[in-house]
Point group: C2
Chain length 116, copies 2
DNA sequence: CAGGATCCCCTGCGATACTG
DNA sequence: CAGTATCGCAGGGGATCCTG
């Protein structure tokens, strides 16, 4: 992978439409989620995109893939140590976002005062 | 803007190819950078993309735009308070990325031991 | 200097169908 | 259940030229 600075590098690794949420969801469920559970939580994701995102996260060493050779098949995804290191970052980002969302909601009302 | 969860919301606000670096660079230069300085630091960005990213960051309340009505024109960009709140997280992410980059570099060598 | 306007391309993402 | 395989598209991003 090529990148121009480490901030660029980081965003390329966890950017995209789903990777942040995938990491967050796996973390929030005892660090273990099956493929189908992830798919349900991400709601509208297609199997192609989910598989692609998971494969990239695995190749990047952020997510571990454990296959149970049974019928029916069972595959569990968990965060690696490196992946877990990202959790505090995502948590703080999430807190910031929650605050932002609240702020916008209240300013929808307060806006009228603002412009006199 | 629509989003399905706050993690999604956050990534939509600072995602994309340049926004993270823009915030980081502005912060790293006393919280004030002119348009041309930003453009030079981002190296290969086109004026269209830079202007677009800055306008979105401004609309999102993360960046402040100060125009000096002179000839030649001068425009300075700085982080708002809300924008500054993101700096610690980006720094955290950057530290993680720096460690990752180091790890990959050394494993290029160590890999041979690993596979026996 | 700090952009705006146009045209264009690539790829990230989606829809659908199929399989071990 | 946990994926592959194809096909297709919209829009994020790029190249180039122009301007107050």
């Amino acid at each position: 992978m090529d990148y121009v600075c480490s901030v660029d590098y980081a965003f390329k690794r966890i950017g995209g439409k789903y990777k942040g949420r995938i990491i967050w969801y796996i973390h929030n469920f005892d660090n273990t989620l099956r493929y189908g559970e992830l798919k349900r939580k991400l709601e509208n994701i297609t199997p192609k995109m989910l598989t692609q995102a998971l494969r990239e996260l695995e190749a990047d060493g952020l997510v571990h893939r454990k296959v149970y050779h049974e019928v029916p098949p069972k595959v569990e995804y968990s965060l690696t140590d490196t992946g877990q290191e990202l959790v505090p970052f995502i948590r703080h980002l999430k807190d910031w976002a929650d605050a932002q969302i609240e702020k916008v909601k209240s300013s929808d009302v307060a806006e009228y005062d603002g412009r006199q």
